[in-house]
């Protein structure tokens, strides 16, 4: 066998690389196509399970996840990239809104939330969907991490008084209406204020959001 030339060697190597790339890209594409539908279904089921925690499934009768409005970047809700609102309806009438929102002022950056607000403006509940608060200290805003399993902190947003003035939407330490855990005020304050902003936004834009 003769010594291969530099050009021949590089072409042969490139061809081998190309073959491997094509084969394994096809393998990934096949995997993607096979799993696409089940993944979409389970992502929807998972989202719905999360929403179930703040908005009981019996309180609306439309396909909630398909009745979605896209929000442009909305600083009032802390959404720099835009977000989504799901509209719950009962017999065609507005029942509640499930809104994405974010608190920009957590102890460790953004805290992402979903908040359910009834059509009459009543806050129904909130859940933290993503955060980086200190483990064991500020992360009690996420009920999965809250040590108080019987009555997690976030449950305060399950139907609080419907006539709270804007100044009450903060922790008691700042003169607000909501409890917090001593030593970890910042996370609780950030979430409480964000939920308050969502309530105010939902009240102000109710009709537009249900359009």
């Amino acid at each position: 066998m003769t010594e291969p030339t530099a050009g021949g060697l590089s072409i042969r190597t490139a061809l081998a690389m190309l073959v491997f790339t094509v084969v394994f890209t096809a393998f990934m594409a096949g995997g993607y196509l096979l799993t696409r539908d089940p993944i979409q279904r389970s992502a929807k089921a998972e989202k719905l399970l999360l929403i179930d925690q703040i908005l009981p499934r019996g309180s609306y009768d439309n396909a909630l996840l398909d009745d979605v409005a896209k929000l442009p970047p909305t600083p009032e809700l802390g959404l720099d990239q835009g977000g989504q609102v799901w509209r719950a309806r009962r017999a065609g009438q507005p029942a509640a809104l499930v809104m994405e929102a974010a608190a920009p002022d957590g102890y460790a950056g953004r805290i992402e939330l979903i908040v359910a607000v009834a059509a009459d403006g009543q806050v129904l509940g909130a859940r933290v969907t993503q955060h980086r608060e200190t483990p064991g200290l500020g992360d009690y805003v996420d009920p999965r991490k809250d040590k108080n399993k019987a009555r997690p902190w976030i449950n305060q947003f399950e139907k609080p008084a419907n006539d709270l003035p804007p100044s009450a939407w903060t922790v008691k330490k700042d003169g607000g209406a909501f409890d917090y855990n001593t030593g970890a005020t910042i996370s609780a304050r950030a979430v409480t204020r964000a939920v308050g902003r969502v309530a105010a936004y939902a009240a102000a834009h109710r009709d537009a959001l249900f359009q």
Binding site: T13, F24, M28, G31, P38, S42, E46, T134, G136
Partner: protein, 227 residues
Amino acid sequence: MNLKHLREIAHAGIWKSNTGLVQLLGLCPILAVSTNLINGISLGLATAVVMAISGAVVAALRTLIPYEIRIPVFILIIAALVTVLDLAFNAYLHSLYLVLGIFVPLIVTNCIVLARVEAFAAKNGPLSSAVDGFAMGAGLVWLLALLGGMRELIGTGHLFNGIDMIIPSAQPLRVLPEAYPGFLVAILPPGAFISLACLIAGKSWLDARAAKRAAQARPAAEQPASA
């Protein structure tokens, strides 16, 4: 290749050249994820599966891969396998995916996988390579379980935080008394380094003790030990 050979591979992976304690590969995910027992075991298991499969596939294809471009091809194979594994997990084992899923993409970036493929699978058959990958992963499982359990216990006084993700009705186990205030440093990043250092020191101590005993036993037996 026989059973003894496979047992040696397994011993190397689980103890002698443990990826976390001896080779110190993939420290980034090890330190970041070992905040509790459940996370540690989960990452360990996911890594073991990926390593066993990628080892077997690379070993089966090793004669087809040109030597000069083996590294990019290995990376391509590992990335493709992990991607498809991630998708399959998500689609067909969704409840497991919710626990392990976040760790699977972490594994692609883990140099353990590429290191074992290059050092072992490229030179051995598919079965040995699968055993090697799985044993290396198993070594990681116990290390991460110990590290995670240690940090969790010292940090919070609990064990099995997050078990409700796997068994919804289960509650974390309170090990230390209610009054234990928790030592947060153990859970934060510095605690990871300190805990891992303690475990490495512990393994070195055990190995040194074993070597000393072997040295003492040898003259008594009056025959050269077959190392």
